[in-house]
Symmetry: C2
């Protein structure tokens, strides 16, 4: 159940937090949103995109980037400019956009050690991965709020 | 339509980005989530909370804080510790938590000047607010992605 989570590297990296409310005039939004999601993931320096929206139309999309330059390049991407224009003119009744530098990150509920062990697995399929996992299971409840 | 948006001050400040997938065992989650939302907003240094979740149970909650110390205090708050424990043991099948420093922020779709004019209005009800607004309306589509 982790397909919609971004497998980001160790910090630091950048996050663009885009909180937005869809207006009633959302014709064409779904297709464009899907296209932009795919396009963003294909951009140089994009580390992942996490996105969700409730039934009232309130959405939060967080995209992760390796650098400020990658964010700027994405902002200026031609198809994305078209989408931004439609978003401003029609789709969003309001939005807040924040650019932030991620300083630390944890995964769960297995605990913060799991992330390291997953990365170890990915890189080396190391024999001590199971040991990491069991360490993770006895970690205290320390990871939910930073 | 801005009740669910956080009226954050000018950066810098901190964001805790909590992306989470609810498990099937979500009994009691709704009440606890609501209680934690209210409790977080009442914490010293909390600047706001934005939260949404889709029908598949994928949620993103971003809380905003004035400092790292405020985040640490919230992490250690007694009722919050109880919630974290239940989250880890039952409610979340997976989560990613990232602590980030917000470096710049924009509002829309009116454009980045609106945020300043809104703050001016709040503080002074200044006579030049209308002028700020009209300036905001002719800004180019520059605010959607950073």
């Amino acid at each position: 159940m982790t397909d919609r989570f971004s497998k980001t590297p160790e910090p630091p990296y950048y996050a663009v937090i885009f909180t937005n409310q869809l207006s009633d005039d959302d014709a064409g939004y779904a297709e464009m949103g899907e296209a932009m999601y795919t396009l963003a993931l294909a951009q140089p320096g994009c580390l992942g995109v996490e996105s969700t929206r409730d039934a009232t139309g309130l959405g939060i999309t967080v995209s992760y980037w390796d650098s400020e330059d990658s964010i700027k390049a994405w902002k200026a991407e031609a198809k994305h400019l078209v989408a931004q224009k439609q978003g401003i003119e029609r789709w969003y009744s309001h939005y807040e956009l924040r650019v932030a530098k991620v300083e630390r990150a944890y995964s769960g509920p297995e605990g913060r050690s799991l992330k390291r062990s997953t990365q170890n697995l990915r890189h080396s399929f190391g024999a001590n991965a199971a040991q990491h996992m069991s360490v993770a299971r006895v970690l205290p409840l320390s990871d939910v709020s930073g």
